[in-house]
Subunit: 329 residues, 2 copies
């Protein structure tokens, strides 16, 4: 299976409490491709300027990423500069230069149009619609968006939301779009537009998967984030989350509810690796076996026993009848 990703490829200046990097490889499409290529073949549709370093193109090519959709246009590559606060939850944008990205128009070749999986990173919803209309028979389509499009191009975004299977938004975006502070109601409102699943990203607090269900009109899956002692650079966490999610599903080829849950955990794990270093640097050496090891560890960190027959009985009866058992180590 191959995954088509459409979005930004750029160069970033990033400052975090852990340090700073200049003109480092960035962009939603880049993060997604670097991460999802661990799972499946990725085809990117994006634009760079003539200043884009060859080493970055070489890196993506070495990951097996199909670069036939990467346009090189006379001019400068998309540039973003930002500074994260001490607690890493705030980020001040210091500079944004769209450069060649301002005139970006995705070109979907007939071959790319046959991709089975599609991820539309955060770009103009009108472009997202254009891409979706060109796809032949995708098995699974997904999009990401942001506050800017929610407020400035609501009608187009609403149409795009109705055309995809999976929607990725952070919790603030979900509340903003649905005009409802309650995440359950807001999530249901977005599902009502047509998507089969909504993945609500909550940063350091994890993610919530909302799918259709008979009870309350939706079914939920809640996941915390993987706890990290040291976060170096949060940039790209959301895009690599989506990459882990889509990559896992593309590799597995199964889209059951249970597979979607495991996909959320793969997204969680991928994002946790990404933020351990600047840019896509941690992803350069990451292996699928490391991903699987952290998946298993995360399962241990989040699972608890049911009140099984024996325990439930013990719980119900007088506590004096229960053996004292082990104590806290």
């Amino acid at each position: 299976m191959s995954i088509l990703v459409v979005g930004s490829v750029g160069l970033d200046d990033v400052q975090t409490p852990a340090g700073a990097r200049t003109r480092t490889l960035g962009g939603a499409c880049t993060y997604f491709a670097a991460a999802a290529s661990l799972y499946a073949r990725v085809c990117i549709v994006a634009v760079v300027g003539t200043d884009f370093p060859q080493e970055h193109t070489d890196f993506l090519a070495a990951r097996g990423v199909d670069l036939t959709g990467l346009q090189t246009v006379e001019g400068k590559t998309f540039f973003w500069a930002g500074r994260y606060g001490e607690d890493l939850n705030t980020c001040e944008t210091l500079d944004t230069q769209l450069n060649v990205f301002a005139g970006f128009h995705p070109v979907i070749t007939p071959e790319l149009a046959r991709s089975e999986y599609v991820f539309l990173a955060n770009i103009d919803p009108d472009l997202q619609i254009e891409v979706l209309e060109q796809m032949r028979a995708p098995r699974l389509t997904a999009l990401d968006s942001m506050n800017y499009w929610i407020t400035s191009k609501r009608a187009a975004l609403t149409k795009a939301l109705s055309m995809v299977d999976i929607v990725f938004l952070n919790e603030h975006e979900v509340r903003l779009y649905a005009e409802d502070t309650n995440l359950i109601r807001a999530g249901r409102a977005i599902l009502a537009l047509g998507p089969k699943a909504l993945v609500i990203k909550r940063g350091e607090y994890g993610a919530m998967l909302v799918t259709r269900g008979s009870c309350l009109g939706a079914t939920f899956f809640l996941s915390p984030a993987y706890p990290l002692e040291r976060v170096v650079d949060p940039t790209g966490a959301g895009d690599t989350f989506a990459a882990g999610f889509m990559g896992y599903l593309a590799r597995l080829g199964v889209h059951s509810l249970e597979a979607l849950r495991r996909a959320v955990v793969h997204g969680t794990v991928l994002a946790s690796f990404t933020v351990e270093d600047f840019s896509v640097d941690r992803l350069r050496t990451l292996s699928l076996s490391e991903v699987q090891a952290r998946y298993d560890e995360f399962r241990y960190l989040t699972h608890f026993q049911s009140l099984s027959a024996t325990e439930g009985e013990c719980f119900q009866r007088s506590v004096n009848e229960c053996a004292p058992g082990a104590t806290i180590p």
Copy 2:
């Protein structure tokens, strides 16, 4: 087993987007007692004024709560007034009148000193220390605190933290106390003072249990919060969380790591019920079977499969060899 709880009993004026209540039953000790009495016998040590309505005392007595430690002093009962913002994450305190609570000094009778479980709600850490020094041979002790004591009585709080088995703090308090924005490092710093476990409360994002462990110096358990479509009044969520946690352990009589994890889930479930109505009103009708049903539901909401042998193999092999399986409903 009986649980001793020391803290405030008060009357609250509360405004939330769902409505308002005046002079409703409040106070950390009250919320804890109303919730923990579902699981075990609760003894309260607190003070009220002569204006405290008899119906509230009757309510606690009807729950089987031991009121021998409840002092009635000439004067007015502790009073708090607050207004929650639209998203329920902010609360503006409009008025605080300590009244008889200003001169509160816990009196621990010899019988109360034999309580097996102790929960010290958010009061002056010097008073928490006094109570702990009077206990005979408690099986499990716990305390809660707040920003005010962290900044104004740090030395006393540090001593109190070193004397208990379990510490309940919210994530902001943990970061403030440890002077570290990273929750993993901050949690480990608090564990290093002596407690066997730290429960970090994260409001709508759930809770994190930190216990001693060989790896990284700590072992973690992460739990989201139970998702609610309608939150009426967040007051008392933290105290009923502690009540579910302590109540479950007291009823079970087992303090294994696995029991602590289930205790976190009981706390999560209890808090989710509490916020469904004003004051302790939801707790008035709540049954343990409702708690167990939501516990099971929460388990469904948070659990996911391992990459088991078959799936793992399928995941590793080419995706073409895998059956397509079910699709998203």
